[in-house]
Homo-oligomer: 318 residues x 2
């Protein structure tokens, strides 16, 4: 029922719950996107939200910094979802999980912690199209998806299912859309091709390659990857993942690592330069193969200069 917040009841009542933070912490090292994991790579780092902090964001930062010993560059909230009695029985308290995306550089993880970095394509092998379409996509996934679509009784549903598969996986001459990470994951999950740990049927009946994760952590990771893949296109967040100085090729490789696909080198450079995102340091890259490249640094000023936000309406030039 609608009511004014001032009339909020002060009794905790029956719906007292707990709040957890779950973090998708991303780093890119040598062209490999990595995420911080715990429990041998089977879970994302998570912990209870402490109300001693001013906000959820500061709580996450403090908690991550305590874990890894170095500050988080960019932080963004991903999604909040409710878990009803994850442990199964009704007596356990409900909880709300608030997930975050954080960008850093791979660094020493504080000794004594079980956390470490894992390549994210280990969890989503079908998402890496840098070396072309992964072979098992056509060999394994596509036939299984086709079978799943056909298994629906009504022909209308069959077509609908296949159209969904085709859009999400770039089949039937459609283009691959690297941003549909979550949709693809959900499609594979729904069609029973990737049993997650703790799921009923699944006792390592992995039909499709890809490391599973606890509970819905792999879904959260998919959400994070999708968000990041979309974000790098209109916000200069890649630089949060780069060292202080880098070559344009290194920058390009990082973008390609995140996007899971290759970009046109000359056009990439044109894009970066015309947006004045970087400036030369004056130095050249050492110990490289081929012609030495100039070193660049990110122009932090652009963050203040511009408010990058996309537009696609037929607006009027002012």
């Amino acid at each position: 029922m609608a009511r004014s917040p001032q009339k909020r009841s002060t009794a905790p009542s029956g719906n007292a719950i707990t709040a957890d933070l779950v973090a998708v912490l991303v780093a890119v090292t040598d062209g490999t996107p990595k995420i911080m994991t715990i429990a041998g790579g089977s879970a994302l780092p998570s912990g209870p939200f402490e109300f001693s902090h001013r906000s959820l964001q500061t709580a996450l930062r403090a908690w991550v910094e305590a874990q890894t010993g170095h500050p988080l560059g960019y932080v963004e909230q991903l999604y909040t979802f409710a878990d009803r009695g994850r442990s199964g029985d009704a007596g356990t308290p409900h909880s709300v999980s608030i997930s975050y995306l954080g960008l850093t550089r791979e660094d020493q993880v504080g000794a004594g912690f079980e956390a470490h970095w894992s390549g994210w394509y280990g969890y989503f092998p079908w998402e890496d199209h840098r070396a072309g379409v992964p072979p098992f996509l056509a060999k394994v996934i596509t036939p299984k998806l086709k079978a799943w679509a056909k298994s629906a009784p009504p022909p209308a549903l069959q077509r609908e299912r296949w159209q969904r598969c085709a859009i999400n996986f770039g089949l039937d001459d459609r283009a691959w859309n690297e941003e549909l990470v979550l949709q693809r994951y959900e499609l594979l999950y729904e069609s029973g091709l990737i049993p997650e740990t703790g799921r009923e049927h699944g006792r390592d009946t992995a039909i499709v390659p890809g490391k599973p994760m606890t509970a819905d952590h792999r879904r959260i990771l998919a959400t994070g990857i999708a968000r990041l893949r979309a974000k790098i296109k209109y916000r200069p967040v890649v630089f949060e993942l780069m060292p202080a100085e880098f070559t344009l090729l290194q920058l390009q490789r990082s973008v390609e690592a995140l996007a899971g696909r290759l970009v046109h080198k000359q056009n990439f450079r044109r894009l970066i330069e015309q947006q004045e995102l970087v400036e030369e340091t004056g130095a050249m890259a050492a110990d490289t193969v081929g012609r030495p490249a100039k070193l660049f640094r990110f122009r932090h000023a652009v963050l203040a200069e511009r408010a990058v936000a996309g537009t696609k309406l037929p607006l009027t030039r002012t």
Copy 2:
């Protein structure tokens, strides 16, 4: 500390909290974007999350439908934030507020409820640029912002503040960016120009026009408007706000109402038609001034046909 979710402690421990849902429900009627409000327009509808629902989303839908008696078209999570002791004293339970954006059509609100629809520009008069830049922006807001920028002691901070003002409000020959709703609100708040209800100093010392709201509800509304303004550009969500049949001008007026600025009529039509978003119903609009317009309806098939997601990387055509 990092730990596996399986090891979750089952005791509620000291950090038991409550979860609330807050909704930004949007409708557009006669070129006016409206939001559902309660308490005489001073608050957004909100209520406790009931764990009897499968998910947060279904909880929101059920709750809204109980309120208004008609289903929600499009629902999207906005943001989750923590309130520490909103009521002030430390003894009150903490809570987490999960906010949602929902799109509907203005309809009869169930009798007996205090909810009703309020125009959203009543809360953000500076956001409506359809009839040109609002006069008080140049007359009142700009000078006050300039004064605020100058009030910073270090010259560097002065420049930084002014640059932020200029970017967000389109000053110094910059273009107005309609998506920066939240940034503008926060800037005005930070500079003390819009005291919110319940704030220390503020006893109706409204410096800038605009109706205030309880707690941080106006900030949530700003988040919702910003999200919607961004979304209409790459997802066909406007149609959730339209009647079943409409003319292209009506559609355009709705977009303009949301964006707070005018679009080029011919180009708008070209955009809509080349994307095949609509189809003719065969009928013509009745009782209109001027030449009668064709009536159109939304092609729901496009939702299945396409996965609309923006791209801006120098990728390779396939």
